[in-house]
Symmetry: C2
Subunit: 235 residues, 2 copies
Amino acid sequence: MADNSAPVPFEAGAGDPKHAARATRSAGRKMRSLLLDAASPLFRERGLSGASITDIAAAANAFPSQITYYFRTKEALFVECACRELLYLARATEQAALTARTPREYTHALAETVTVGDSVAFFAEALTLTRRRQDLAPLVERTIERLHSEGARAYASQVERHGWRSLRAPDESSRRFWAVAIGVILEGYAMGRSPEELCAEMLRVLGEQAKSTGEAARLRLVEEHGTSTTSDGEG
Amino acid sequence: MADNSAPVPFEAGAGDPKHAARATRSAGRKMRSLLLDAASPLFRERGLSGASITDIAAAANAFPSQITYYFRTKEALFVECACRELLYLARATEQAALTARTPREYTHALAETVTVGDSVAFFAEALTLTRRRQDLAPLVERTIERLHSEGARAYASQVERHGWRSLRAPDESSRRFWAVAIGVILEGYAMGRSPEELCAEMLRVLGEQAKSTGEAARLRLVEEHGTSTTSDGEG
């Protein structure tokens, strides 16, 4: 990324085309970001049909034409907002899980973080929209790829750091986590569930992801004695 | 349920109020069913916003006022269509899995059946809608309860019949299956994936549900020798 944080000079570079182009790019990035910031809470609260371009422009202190200039359509803006929020959430889950000392704490921190806000429900609405707007699919695809690759990397590094025994490949763990999050949260929001209920349901549905070294040894012992017949040791 | 299949008499019961009431109920059920049949393919194809009450009435050879009489709003009709289709799909998965001889075949039959059509994506759209229309939540809630209770019952009976060793409680298996189906299918539809790709991703994300007796014995052997360190035997 170029110097994102550089201040935008006023009346920049009348005599310096390169400088002017850079200033324009930087101003453009700022305006895009401003529009995304203004649109996200409106879309989250009211959904796609409940927020108009006029509302969003007013909230951003901008003109409707600026929205269509930067995003072309309200649908494209919606999907870009939702993708951005999901990647913010992914980073937040990673942060929240950093201090976990056991696989159980790790999964709990992830589940708690994704169920506390509505970013996953927002993203699910963007997925439904994209189904009929395949021109928006590339952004969704890049977002999901990044979600899984960063999730798998974060999980693998935690497993390695603590010496846990993962029950499945990191990439599969990450894919399962996000698929379950979408399914459980979409169901739960429709039924008016609280964040605590959503978190409990996520943990129940996810099952165990990994075992600490001690747990792995105990599991082996139970298997040897042949007493574990209906559970995989989660009870 | 009353005698659903009884023919509706013409000019029924001018002198028999009970008979007339029954005939009206039966005709009402038929009209409701007719409207649901006509609306479902239109909603599936075009989504909520793409199909108008006028379109649906025309497809059902009915008046728009009949739709509002039986369902009040287009949104309520949409959610009822989607719930009905999901329960049909649940029955179809159960049927498809009846002939499975191993846990792997069983899961494969389920995954193949849910990914071949768009009923899950249709239902996911209804979930998104219901999030902001909590008056429609009771129907969604009943549908999900029925989905899980019938899923758990079907799975438990298969496990019992074949003497498989289930890796988790039947209710948890069913909840995981449908949450994963919603998550994977919603993601996949947004990215324009084929049914085959969706099915493969579902199997990958779901992981193993149960082991046949032979597999369970082999697993025990592997665990004893301590050679299984990063997978739960799905290799």
